[in-house]
Symmetry: C2
Subunit: 324 residues, 2 copies
């Protein structure tokens, strides 16, 4: 391995001179520069980031911790993070919690061992127990960003889409399409989150709120779920889970219910899945890539000790296709 020492010797200067020159924290004579450059080229010098990190007690590694990467929802966000981090020459670690089977404590330990410069959690961990885990670590000083987590008892910045507005524009859209009797369908959504949507619905519908229905894994959509929809004479469904929206659309068509004439389907989330569904689903885009980019920026702000917003809210918008 070629080190600064080798370069220094070859260029007949001291290590310090090379080091400072390379970090452009010093101006050197033209002749010195030439010799250093030549030595670097001839010997094939590659800086050692690990040594640098040890000395400076700081890496350029950001960890993204998420349930699984093979899910378009998470991978979109991750790609946004990657894009911004790459621009600033930070590296991106991925930790898939579903695969790793590590406890919260073990993950935090891992982050400290590796001198991670910042952590982005994507929609993970029960609020209290996790925050407690961090508080239990005296001298914890790694920047954190919570992407897609709705909580207030944390000292770290939050980034999430405006779910109230999502509920509002979704409902408004369905009403504008002439759909009166609406249902909000979700799948294991925490009540707290669900309430944000309903608050948005409320703004549009007043007291005439959509009915709320939960989709369960063991349900047969065609035989169990769709009949319930019909029973309530639902005309428009706002499905708060993209994949469920796609499956619902399939079930409706199997039951010979025309989309959007007999029933409109609006999905939350805009990945290829909505696009390839039949019919193509109208959806509320949650700006996942932007969410990722913003999360990365917030981590970098913390690292640089700059000011940052405690809460960043992204504006969702409607992408109209053929299901409403």
């Amino acid at each position: 391995m070629v080190t600064l020492k080798d370069i220094a010797k070859h260029a007949n200067v001291s290590i310090c001179t090379v080091s400072k020159y390379l970090s452009s924290s010093m101006v050197v004579k033209k002749e010195t520069e030439r010799r250093i450059q030549q030595a670097i080229k001839e010997l094939g010098y590659v800086p050692n980031v690990v040594a640098k990190a040890l000395k400076r007690m700081e890496t350029s590694n950001i960890a993204v911790i998420l349930p699984k990467i093979n899910n378009l929802y998470y991978s979109e966000i991750t790609s946004g993070i990657s894009q911004t981090l790459g621009k600033y020459h930070y590296n991106l670690y991925i930790y898939e919690v579903d695969n790793l089977q590590l406890s919260e404590e073990e993950i935090l330990q891992l982050m400290r061992e590796n001198m991670i410069a910042g952590i982005i959690f994507i929609g993970l961990f029960a609020d209290q127990s996790f925050q407690e885990s961090i508080n239990n670590i005296p001298g914890w000083d790694i920047p954190i960003v919570y992407a897609n987590r709705y909580t207030s008892n944390t000292n770290y910045p939050l980034v999430y889409p405006d779910l109230v507005q999502a509920g509002e524009i979704g409902t408004k859209h369905l009403l504008a399409k002439g759909k009166q009797r609406l249902a909000v369908v979700h799948k294991g959504l925490r009540e707290e989150i669900l309430n944000y949507f309903l608050e948005g619905c409320h703004k549009v519908c007043g007291e005439h709120l959509p009915i709320v229905m939960e989709m369960k894994d063991e349900m047969d959509l065609v035989n169990d779920f769709v009949p319930q929809l019909l029973e309530h004479q639902i005309e428009g469904v706002f499905t708060l889970n993209e994949l469920s929206a796609v499956y619902l659309a399939k079930a409706l068509q199997k039951t010979n219910i025309k989309i959007p004439e007999d029933m409109a389907v609006l999905s939350l989330g805009n990945s290829v899945m909505s696009e390839i569904s039949t019919p193509e689903l109208t959806c509320v885009d949650l700006q996942n890539r932007e969410l990722g980019m913003k999360s990365a920026e917030l981590i970098l702000s913390q690292i640089r000790k700059e000011a940052y917003e405690d809460v960043t809210v992204l504006e969702p918008f409607i992408v109209e296709r053929h299901s409403t």
Copy 2:
């Protein structure tokens, strides 16, 4: 930061004793052990992986380099890699080439700077120029695995699905379903790769090969592509790209062609996309997760200087749904 030094002082032993005890490369007296353990607990010691890496000149970081992560094809493979690496306590870096806009040389430089322990390339880089880039680096010694790359001029192990067999079982399946006139549809596939499939088809069809059609981005499927299919009186289509298969199925239905009665559609690749398509697509599963796991194992074998297979071929299999 609590270091070995602090622990040593607190436990009244030397740094060396603590270090060797922790790496279980030395047996210590019961009493010493107790004191060390107590010190670690009381002071809250966290080992510093960066310092360890510098000293040992070796990290536990594996880099995965791929075009983009927000693509189920790549993220499935990545998830497989993550699963295996996690088991052996290796960390996973992700580098998205499409986002980073780095040249081959810059990527290789990045890997060396960061003392990456091994690199997995997923379906990337023109064979020759890239291999040359590596050869141009004297003393390059980072293990590499090529996932989904078909080439012979490399010194590194290859992992890929058996495309000949994919062609064979796909064709066989379509024939078994009573489809005689077949088409193989691809989208910008390199001739070399395409030929593997055709070789598989040949095994089943003899000289009566399927016709090959290329799908282009600017094509209107309903007005341009489907009519071509009909013109050739095609009864079964083997689409070598999952997303294209889904779009083709949509186009066929718009043209009121019944799947699979009038035309069978077989897709290559088995992600959720085939599942949520209407109708659910029968497909040839390429075992992406296994591909990732195998890639990770091959990297680890190289790191451990164990023997490994130069070429690992995965066996694709049919997943039957409703499109054939």
